[in-house]
């Protein structure tokens, strides 16, 4: 026998359940963020940001991990962006929609979903050992580049395809060539979308640990060239926290990471808003 609830009652119950779920999520979310920030921000002093770690990280600051994060991310973005955006342009403008493009798209989707540890394993065997690049910013950056490439291809392709066909037609009717159209019309229109993809890629690079720990290494020194090993902040946090080397510095590193991610997110959000406002 099925109990028939008065629709009014079921409405009330539903409301309670849904509000509880939302409050639970917010509670968990804020407890994690506030816990880390409250324990970490007090440790973010000027010395913390400008000194190199010493004594295995027990003292000193996190300058070299900061530099490590920036350099590895920069290498990844410099390599992945032209390749990714170029591929996106090629796929949308120069080829016809066919089974090949469908296969390519499916592959890009699948590769975007590969666990980062698999990229790390590949990067370790291929860049560090086989190409003899050793544990270095270059190995780490290239591994991350391959990791964010599918994401950049996907978001760029999406951005270019949603440029209204009218834009292209107007450009052509005015006598523009394909190249001029791409440069002056499509590019700027798709730019917010493309930038969003790049920013998402940056976010992923900054937060990544599994793929970086065995490609860029875990050396504490300030790197002197892109062939030097380097620690990123995420790796530094992992090592400090896991081995109990210095909890204050671990929290400080985590807090700095969260702040960085927050800023990256804000940037991405505002670009998306611009994208949405323009494209439709």
């Amino acid at each position: 026998m099925r109990i028939r609830l008065n629709p009014r009652t079921s409405q009330k119950i539903a409301k309670v359940v849904i509000w509880s779920a939302a409050i639970l999520v917010l509670f968990v979310l804020f407890s994690i963020i506030i816990y880390i920030l409250s324990k970490g921000i007090p440790n973010i002093t000027w010395q913390f940001l400008t000194q190199i770690p010493s004594d295995m990280g027990r003292s000193g600051g996190i300058l070299s991990p900061i530099v490590g994060t920036l350099s590895v991310t920069l290498v990844a973005v410099i390599v992945a962006t032209p390749l990714g955006v170029g591929t996106a342009f090629y796929l949308t403008e120069y080829t016809r929609e066919s089974t090949i493009t469908k296969i390519i798209r499916f592959s890009a989707e699948s590769l975007a979903g590969i666990p980062s540890i698999v990229y790390g394993l590949f990067g370790f065997i291929f860049f560090v050992i086989y190409l003899k690049l050793g544990w270095s910013i270059l190995s780490g950056g290239l591994t991350l580049a391959v990791m964010i490439l599918p994401t950049i291809i996907r978001t760029s392709e999406e951005a270019i395809r949603t440029v209204p066909p009218m834009y292209r037609e107007v450009s052509f009717s005015l006598g523009g060539t394909k190249w001029q159209t791409m440069l002056k019309v499509l590019g700027p229109s798709a730019l917010p979308g493309i930038s969003t993809g790049i920013i998402l890629g940056i976010g992923r690079c900054v937060a990544e640990t599994a793929a970086v720990i065995l490609t860029a290494g875990s050396a504490l020194r300030m790197p002197i060239s892109i062939f030097s090993p380097a620690r990123t902040m995420a790796v530094h946090f992992y090592i400090l926290a896991r081995e109990g080397i210095s909890l204050e510095r671990a929290y400080g590193t985590a807090a700095l990471l969260i702040i960085l991610i927050l800023l990256i997110n804000i940037g991405a959000n505002l670009l998306v808003n611009k994208f949405v406002a323009k494209g439709h």
């Binding site: 079921s10 849904i18 979310l29 994690i32 591929t87 403008e93 990544e208 946090f237 896991r242 985590a254």
Partner: protein, 281 residues
């Protein structure tokens, strides 16, 4: 003259596309080339269903790890999906605009937090709680599921919310016109209409859970034995690679690539299901 000027950018883009796609193909080929010989040597059945993972003895059975991945992910789904769905309904239908504008970026922030931070938080709060109140070492499948559930919340919430919002307002108004309550409308009209997007978000969440490594290494205990309860420690396919890849060589290394192949296949299957679900819209 103009035609020539056209050829240059075209070739340029072609080269870029070729390099990018070759790089991606390289990875796939590399993983397969390294991994297949081991699967051939050990036998596909023995590899996937073998109970013992002991590389020093030449034994490469990944079944305990497959069980670990499946159970931990399942747990994350059971814990995470209902809450995430409720939360997305909340954002789409119940939350006042000011609140949702605050909550949405907060959830996005959650999505970007490095997994090692989640793992550490779990090590400090979840693991001791499980050990003290439920028993076992605390490092357990349950701890992994809880952490993963939290980590996939943002994915499911944001995509489901978008799907709910993009349901045609006419459907809603029609339901109201027929006298349905708010909840009845949500349950019988909105959610079914947004079904494919919601399903896609869940599958994306599953993909993220399956692929997670660092947070799981920290809270799962990493024992090689087949787990017998959710309070037992376990290993997943990803953590197996993560722990051993630093020192694996020869056959052992090939076995890790073979594990990578299994992961690739799982992701591809998940992706195909997602594509199918979206296309059915």
């Amino acid at each position: 003259m103009k035609k020539f000027g056209e050829k240059i950018p075209q070739s340029l883009f072609f080269i870029m596309a070729l390099s990018a796609l070759s790089a991606l193909a390289l990875i796939t080929v590399f993983i397969f080339v390294e991994g297949i010989p081991l699967i051939a040597k050990v036998g596909l059945f023995n590899f996937i269903f073998g109970m013992k993972w002991a590389p020093s003895l030449g034994q490469y059975g990944i079944f305990p790890m497959i069980v670990g991945t499946v159970v931990v992910t399942l747990g994350a789904i059971i814990l995470g999906v209902p809450i995430a769905l409720c939360c997305s309904i909340f954002l789409a239908e119940f939350a006042p605009k000011k609140l949702s504008n605050l909550v949405r970026p907060a959830i996005q922030l959650l999505a970007g937090i490095p997994s090692v931070v989640f793992g550490f938080w779990g090590l400090i709060f979840i693991v001791p709680a499980i050990r003290n109140y439920l028993g076992g070492p605390g490092l357990s499948i349950l701890a992994g599921s809880i952490i993963l559930a939290i980590m996939i919340l943002p994915t499911i919430i944001s995509i489901s919310e978008v799907s709910l919002i993009s349901v045609s307002p006419l459907l809603k108004e029609g339901a109201f016109a027929l006298g349905a309550t708010h909840w009845q409308t949500i349950r019988s009209v909105l959610v079914p209409a947004a079904k494919s997007g919601i399903l896609a978000s869940i599958i994306l969440g599953i993909g993220r859970a399956v692929g997670e490594t660092m947070a799981v290494i920290m809270v799962l205990g990493n024992a090689v034995a087949l787990p017998s309860s959710i309070l037992d420690p376990a290993r997943t396919l990803t953590t197996n690679i993560g722990i051993e890849m630093g020192y694996a060589s020869g056959e052992h290394q090939q076995a890790l690539f073979a594990t990578g192949i299994v992961l690739l296949v799982i992701i591809m299957i998940l992706n195909s299901i997602a594509q199918y679900a979206i296309r059915r819209k």
